[in-house]
């Protein structure tokens, strides 16, 4: 199968998945308890006022009408209006996306910087203290809950030692870019340090599980490669050990690792909910939590659709890349 046919096929499958997500999310709204109007309005509101509000929000329409209204808007980017703020959902979701992407990418960078060297060291010094420490580190990392780690980092590094801020995102990449375009280099640099200063703790919190995962993966992949015939052949040829390890073995190890990194990026976008709540990070996760609390279904649906689309896109991309990098894999 050619690459283009593969992409078309996977895109169609992706659309089907997204439609499924939309339908499930829409259905959940009707089986979950809590009428949005009752959460929007305090219990002492006059029944007539309540009915007016319900009619204004379109919540009294039959199910299929609401479903059709919702689905038919999606292709043109109309995700409806928020029940709470009455502003377009699409705008609200899109404006939150950069913050979440920033966080997910920063978490990935943290993970890659720590995990790959750690995995390599651990594989090349198998059964030595370095290997055991790396194993313990990944075990702790995998079993530490996100919210606990976040709260602990804030308590120790922010409140006690005063090294980092506890929360907020005073400047984003968009702000730094704006400063660069304006030609204000020193302000852009200040902006960048501010950004790093604010994103470090959330990125570590979100990236820890991921770091542990990649460490394990790199270690086992590396061990596997080091036992292969081509490695022994290279050594027999008299190639230096560093070249054998880092050029040949590591390169082959990284193929599956890259796939996992790609796939995890999708998970991070959706999984940032708790981390964002702990650090009051103004991204998609915070939006999701707030819209659940307020029973703001259109916003919740919109956010989940964006997460689903992101996930599907990343998946297709990773599959394509994987096959491209590793010619042994065919597009099918």
């Amino acid at each position: 199968m050619s690459l283009s046919r593969f992409l078309i096929k996977r895109s169609l499958q992706g659309l089907f998945v997204i439609w499924g997500v939309i339908t499930v999310v829409f259905g959940l709204r009707f089986i979950s308890p809590g009428d949005p109007a009752n959460v929007l309005l305090p219990p002492d509101v006059d029944p007539e006022v309540r009915a007016q509000v319900i009619a204004e929000l379109g919540l009294n329409e039959p199910l299929y009408v609401q479903y059709w209204d919702f689905v038919s808007g999606i292709p043109v980017g109309d995700l409806g209006l928020s029940l709470v703020t009455r502003t377009p959902v699409a705008t609200r979701v899109i404006t939150k996306l950069p913050a979440t992407l920033e966080l997910a990418i920063a978490a990935t960078i943290v993970a890659v910087i720590i995990a790959i060297p750690l995995g390599v060291v651990s594989a090349t010094r198998r059964h030595q203290p370095a290997d055991y420490s790396a194993t313990v580190f990944s075990l702790v990392g995998i079993s530490t809950p996100n919210f606990w780690l976040g709260v602990m980092l804030i308590l120790v590094l922010a409140v006690q030692l005063n090294l980092f801020p506890t929360s907020q995102r005073p400047i984003g990449i968009d702000g730094i870019v704006l400063l660069l375009v304006g030609g204000n280099l020193s302000a852009a640099f200040d902006g960048f340090t501010t950004w790093v200063w604010h994103i470090t703790l959330p990125a570590i919190t979100l990236g820890t599980y991921f770091t542990a995962l990649i460490t394990r993966l790199t270690r086992s992949g590396m061990l596997d490669q080091l036992g292969q015939t081509y490695v022994r052949a290279s050594r027999a040829k008299g190639l230096p050990e560093t070249l054998v390890r880092y050029k040949h073995a590591l390169r082959n190890t990284l193929i599956p690792v890259i796939t996992v990194i790609g796939l995890q990026l999708g998970t991070l976008i959706g999984g940032a909910v708790i981390t964002e709540a702990v650090f009051a990070w103004p991204g998609l996760g915070t939006l999701i939590i707030n819209s659940i609390n307020a029973r703001d279904w259109p916003v919740l649906q919109g956010s989940l659709i964006v997460v689903a689309v992101g996930f599907v896109l990343v998946n297709i991309l990773v599959d394509a890349l994987y096959a491209y990098v590793n010619p042994q894999v065919a597009y099918d």
Partner: protein, 529 residues
């Protein structure tokens, strides 16, 4: 205050970027010659600015003061918009945009004389037409839109300007004894021409009021920045810049306060109070709120149809201990449906004492010994709601002849049942809270205990007739009738009387400010220590 960290604020960087772009353009025009342009803004004042940041649990749902029903939104918009009347920190009615308010003899109407020399933030003067329009925008669907606040001005039919005078006449559908109470709590005055010239989306993203602060910038879901309005009709506020942000996690808010990233936070949980008070630079400020927490018992179901049984439930719990140990002292025991600050409160009534023997005896007398009951409670909606419910059920379960358990409920689904319209749809026994910003006991009893009340679980003819009587009275006479109704409720125990909730804030030590009882944060009252 909040800018003690070396980070760049959003507004600062926008300013910087703008400055940079401008200087680049200038440099281009000048052909690259000449001196370097400085882009760093110089501080306008020599003294340290007094900036305050407030972190609530959620952001406002918009900035239209007449199109919302939430306290967090109220707290933000009330710094830019004002009413004809207002309240002081303990709830007493005060003049605001009106200089005089009185009932018009012989008519079901009241009169407000409108203050002179008040300007909106766009510079236009306040007129009586603006006030009348604002009232009509809330109560009359044909003026503007269906405001979700129309029932907050219940009994108000409409308003008109009194010809030739700087005054507004408000027509009521009946005597409306609580009309001044309503106007002291609700109704924000907007400018008629500004509202009519702009669409709803614009109005919900911008502000043009008469209050001490004007809008600087609004980033939906992130922050609202207000600055002092220099032409305010009273002395300008002490605070230069006021920023509102939100963090839904209580521990995040506390950490922000302790780090100096924010100056005032709402809803400090009791277990965090010590951490705040022991910190350098922050303290806890608390005030009794207008919210009452109670356990309703359905009068039409066994075993709650027995007055002895309902009384027994009140004797069975150690309310004082719940207030001290569960709420950490941030609460007050209640004896009646009306709180002490409210109109109609009966000061002669004491909370039921803790008397398990009496409770056991009353259960025997009721004939329902061996009853098994289940308390429905929301989780996380009110201060320590689940813990209060567990304590109540625990005490009752200790009675040898009653078994009590707690059932945790999602707030949304519990409210669905409470609002279903008929008493049969409500759970037999539930914990709920009720806030009443008008400080009126009559409204609370009407909603929660009258036969046709919104959330009622009780029917009592004598009680209904007392409320009806109060509806046609005003002043002391009405107060006395409501006190009688409270005494009856105390005796008949339609509820297990629990606590008055306290509002608990964390405040930066360098700010002088007292918590209010109506859950509002009034930054105009703040000063630097």
């Amino acid at each position: 205050m909040t800018d003690n960290n070396s980070h760049i604020g959003r507004r600062t960087y926008l300013k910087l970027a703008g400055g940079a772009a401008a200087s680049a353009a200038l440099a281009g025009c000048a052909g690259g010659g000449g001196e370097e342009t400085t882009t760093t803004p110089t501080p306008e004042e020599t003294s340290e600015p007094f900036d305050v940041t407030i972190t609530q649990g959620q952001m406002p749902s918009g900035l239209d003061p007449q199109d919302h029903r939430e306290t967090p939104t109220d707290i933000v918009v009330l710094h830019a918009y004002e009413g004809v009347l207002t309240r002081d920190a303990v709830g007493a009615v005060q003049q605001a945009l009106s200089t005089n308010y009185e009932r018009i003899e012989g008519e079901n109407a009241v009169r407000f004389d409108i203050r002179e020399g008040v300007t909106f933030h766009n510079g236009d003067e306040l007129t009586p037409e603006d006030v009348a329009y604002s009232i009509n925008r809330v109560v009359d669907e044909n003026v503007g839109f269906a405001s979700p606040q129309s029932d907050q001005l219940a009994g108000v039919a409409g308003a008109e300007v009194i010809e030739g005078e700087r005054a507004v006449k408000v027509n009521n559908t009946s005597l409306n004894p609580i009309v001044f109470s309503e106007f002291a709590t609700y109704l924000d005055v907007m400018q008629q021409s500004w509202v009519e010239e702009n669409d709803k989306a614009f109005i919900s993203q911008n502000m043009n009021g008469t209050g001490p602060f004007q809008l600087d910038s609004y980033t939906e879901d992130e922050e609202v920045v207000l600055t002092r309005y220099e032409d305010y009709w009273q002395d300008p506020a002490a605070v230069d810049t006021l920023t509102f942000r939100a963090a839904s996690e209580a521990s995040t808010r506390v950490n922000q306060l302790l780090q100096g990233e924010t100056d005032v936070i709402v809803n400090v949980p009791p277990q965090e109070v010590e951490r705040v008070n022991n910190s350098e630079g922050a303290r806890v400020a608390a005030a009794p709120s207008t919210r009452i927490i109670y356990n309703a018992m359905r009068y039409d179901l066994e075993p709650f149809d027995s007055v002895e049984f309902r009384q027994a439930m009140n004797y069975a719990i150690d309310l004082e201990s719940i207030v001290q140990n569960v709420l950490g002292g941030f609460g007050a025991a209640t004896s009646q449906p009306t709180l002490p600050e409210f109109v109609g409160h009966n000061a002669d009534l004491d909370p039921y004492p803790y008397d398990p023997d009496q409770a056991e005896q009353l259960v025997e007398d009721s004939g329902y010994a061996g009853a098994e009951i289940e308390l429905h409670t929301p989780v996380g909606r009110y201060l320590k709601d689940l813990e209060i419910a567990q304590a109540v059920a625990g005490y009752i379960d200790e009675l040898p002849n009653v078994t009590a358990t707690v059932r945790q409920r999602d707030f949304g689904s519990l409210v669905d049942e409470l609002l279903a319209g008929s008493i049969e749809a409500r759970p037999p026994w539930f914990l709920i809270g009720w806030g009443e910003a008008t400080f009126d006991g009559g409204l609370v009893m009407q909603a929660l205990l009258a036969s046709d009340g919104t959330l009622t679980t009780w029917q009592n003819e004598e009680f209904d007739s007392l409320l009806e009587q109060a509806g046609n009275q005003s002043g002391d006479e009405r107060d006395a009738t409501l006190q009688e109704a409270n005494a009856l409720a105390h005796e008949e125990c339609p509820w297990i009387f629990l606590n008055q909730q306290f509002s608990v804030y964390g405040v930066n030590d360098s700010i002088a400010w007292e918590a209010r009882s109506d859950e509002r944060i009034d930054v105009y009252d703040m000063s630097q220590k």
